[in-house]
């Protein structure tokens, strides 16, 4: 009888040991771009990378008729991708700090997608990955892909000015 009771206890304890998945969704359909500049300390000659706030007159995204951003001074932008396609192009019309000159830059990205079920309660999400620059007006030394996965609060690209 004691054995049987112990077995019953084991079943109850065992049943409570079933794994409960976490509900953390990190997937996003946006690309985070940080603007940076390299500064050299005049005394030590050490180089450091710092944020560089840009004056953006507007930012256009393919598939969106109107400007996505207008008249914003920022060191980082989070821009949407169109989940129906596997490429996206951004046009950044920026102004010099003096306001004297302006310039239009463009950058086109390609990406792949992967579906993942997080947990029954959370659902399934499309993760965009394998981010690549297809075409850009920036020189090759001017940008760096820091993360090929599109995840919330994760910088994907650094652009140096």
């Amino acid at each position: 009888m004691t054995r049987f009771l112990l077995f019953l206890m084991m079943i109850l304890v065992g049943a409570s040991c079933f794994n409960e998945p976490d509900c953390i969704v990190t997937a996003t359909s946006s690309i985070k771009i940080d603007f940076k500049q390299t500064k050299t300390d005049k005394t030590t000659l050490l180089k450091s990378v710092v944020d560089s706030a840009l004056i953006l007159n507007y930012v256009k995204v393919t598939g969106i008729d109107t400007s996505y951003l207008k008249n914003k001074t920022t060191a980082t932008v989070t821009l949407p991708i169109n989940p129906k396609t596997n490429t996206i192009t951004y046009y950044l019309f920026r102004q010099s700090k003096s306001g004297a000159t302006s310039r239009l830059d463009s950058i086109q990205f390609s990406f792949a997608e992967e579906s993942r079920v997080i947990a029954p309660k959370c659902g399934a999400y499309t993760f965009f990955l394998d981010l690549k620059v297809v075409q850009t007006s920036f020189s090759q030394t001017q940008y760096k892909i820091t993360s090929t996965r599109l995840l919330k609060n994760t910088t994907n690209v650094q652009v140096y000015f």
Partner: protein, 227 residues
């Protein structure tokens, strides 16, 4: 925390079983010289938990277990089927497949005449399955709307390793009840496309390692020769 309580329960039951052996005046006669590695019987089992879970519409499955003794070692084989149809927060996930686990256990109650077991073991699991998911996702930019997705993996194969521990206790002649706790790790799945494998039959959530499993088994023993 529950895994420690579970371990304590197993140890306490094992201790109890050993304690019950000691007052017996007559020790069973065990031939330790000749043929000790010859199996004396085959134990056939079913997993009751899998059958109970099958009452739920979201899960269908069964598992059969076999083990045979080779002195203090038991060669074990488990074979099962597992299919889920899970309602997700934003869609539906289904899978179905078969799995097999094989390995060996070491019995720490060697001299128990009733062939009770407190064991530790190792398993290698192989699974063959298919899965599909349909769901909706809202785009980061609302103007891009809500996307509907359907993704499937037609033919996947996977494998993993398990460390097992548990008990088999004789209830009546020829009938044992047993519980097995499984610490599953090193899952690997091959053959998938745009859908990352989620639930591997026999293992569980692929992205989670280690992953705990639990079986509650009923065994019948077929002796190879009569005493």
């Amino acid at each position: 925390m529950c895994r420690y309580i579970f371990s304590l329960l197993i140890l306490s039951l094992a201790w109890q079983l050993q304690a019950q052996e000691s007052p017996k005046p007559k020790k069973p006669r065990i031939d330790t010289v000749s043929n000790k590695y010859l199996p004396t019987g085959l134990r056939l089992g079913i997993d009751a938990l899998t059958l109970i879970r099958s009452k739920d519409n979201s899960f269908k499955g069964w598992e059969v277990n076999f083990d045979t003794d080779l002195y203090r070692y038991y060669v074990t084989v488990d074979y099962g089927y597992w299919a889920t149809n899970q309602l997700l927060g934003n869609g539906r996930y289904t899978n179905a497949g078969n799995y097999i686990r094989f390995g060996a256990d070491i019995n720490f109650l060697l001299k128990d005449p009733e062939k009770n077991m407190f064991f530790l073991g190792l398993r290698y699991g192989i699974s063959s399955f298919s899965e599909s998911v349909e769901y909706n996702n809202k785009a980061y930019y609302p103007g891009f709307g809500t996307q509907s997705y359907y993704q499937s993996n037609g033919s996947l194969s996977g494998h993993w390793i398990e460390i097992t521990t548990g008990l088999r206790v004789k209830i009546v002649s020829g009938f044992w009840m047993g519980a097995t706790a499984r610490l599953k790790f090193a899952p690997s799945v091959s053959g998938y496309g745009n859908l990352f494998p989620y639930d591997m039959p026999g293992y569980g959530i692929v992205e989670e390692a280690p992953y705990w499993g639990f079986n509650y088994q009923l065994f019948w023993r077929l002796p190879f020769k009569k005493k």
